[in-house]
């Protein structure tokens, strides 16, 4: 009986931590970049680094320019 109770308590306490561990975690170290001076008719691009520090695949669902 006592063992069962301890197990239940453990499950309740540990489960959320485990679940969180199985989540992806998005980390964008730099969210703003300044290109400096750019010329009128030219095209410029910049690649932002995205890290997944979680424990599941990180899915980028959409990138919507505003």
């Amino acid at each position: 009986m006592r063992t069962a109770l301890v197990l239940l308590l453990l499950t309740v306490l540990v489960w959320p931590t485990l679940a969180q561990d199985l989540q992806p975690k998005i980390v964008i170290p730099q969210i703003r970049h300044d290109l400096g001076d750019i010329f009128e008719l030219e095209k410029y691009e910049y690649a932002f680094v995205v890290r997944n520090t979680g424990r599941a695949d990180l899915l980028i669902e959409e990138v919507k320019p505003g």
Binding site: P24, K25, E40, V50
Partner: protein
């Protein structure tokens, strides 16, 4: 525009690439994009790309010129051009405009090295008008050789017409063989300086009539405008016309008043 890695495995890194086109931004800019992911703690993140767009050919004070003055008044504006292109001995090669009867222009080297100036003058003998056009400056810039300047030319009149539009509103049609409602309205012409005479008055719609009343000779005139509703031929009929008042003043040879009425 954006390109991105759709799946990033745990512990890995991906890229989100934002593209900025220099002709879609102006001056100092900041463009953001919203990133949606399956991270339950952070489903939305905003990333921002900032910068300062500079033209290949710089025009100061700006790419719009407003030349406004009275008849006989000389109005002049000067533009200074320089290039932001490296290793270019910048120069203006020619200038053209579709406003050649309304403005004159000249160009030459500016005070500082690398600077060129374009001077625009309003033709002083322009009658009252407000018009738009362009001035195209051809330079030796390799990237953007043609610079188009928007030009607005305005000659302010000294004759005030009150009102400049008359709306007779809704009037009743006449029965068969008879005219309908008759309405009268008044137009007043006043000149702020100098005297003027009215030479002629014309109308381009038979339902309107006009009669000149001289109030203060040379200074103030009244025109009585009469609208006679037509005989009914259909449910509703809009009548519009234009009253043109011809003066002896070369700076303002005519002034116009728009007329409208709606018969029901």
């Amino acid at each position: 525009m954006a390109e991105f890695d759709k799946v990033i495995p745990p512990g890995q890194e991906g890229r989100i690439t934002l593209v900025i086109e220099g002709n879609k931004v102006h001056g100092s800019f900041s463009k953001s994009a919203t990133v949606r992911s399956n991270d339950p703690d952070r489903p939305v993140t905003t990333i921002t790309l900032a910068g300062n767009e500079i033209p290949f050919v710089n025009v100061t004070p700006g790419e719009r010129v407003y030349l406004q003055g009275s008849y006989d008044e000389a109005v002049s504006k000067t533009l200074t051009l320089s290039s932001n292109e490296k290793d270019l001995a910048f120069e203006i090669q020619s200038v053209e405009s579709n406003l050649d009867d309304k403005i004159t222009y000249a160009y030459g080297r500016g005070e500082h090295s690398g600077e060129w100036v374009v001077t625009l003058n309003k033709n002083p003998k322009l009658p009252t008008l407000s018009t738009y056009g362009t001035l195209t400056i051809h330079t030796n810039s390799k990237q953007a050789p043609d610079k188009t300047i928007q030009v607005q030319v305005v000659t302010k009149g000294t004759i005030t017409v009150q009102p400049s539009m008359i709306n007779f509103g809704r009037v009743r049609f006449g029965a068969e063989g008879q005219d309908g409602d008759v309405l009268n309205k008044t137009v007043t012409l006043i000149r702020s300086r100098g005297e003027f005479a009215i030479r002629d008055i014309t109308l381009n719609n038979d339902h309107f009539e006009a009669k000149l009343l001289e109030e203060v000779p040379g200074k103030r005139y009244k025109i009585d405008v009469k609208f006679t509703a037509p005989t009914r031929t259909r449910a509703a009929q809009a009548e519009s016309g234009e009253l043109i008042i011809y003066t002896d003043d070369p700076s303002e040879p005519h002034v116009r008043v728009q007329l409208v009425a709606r018969a029901l």
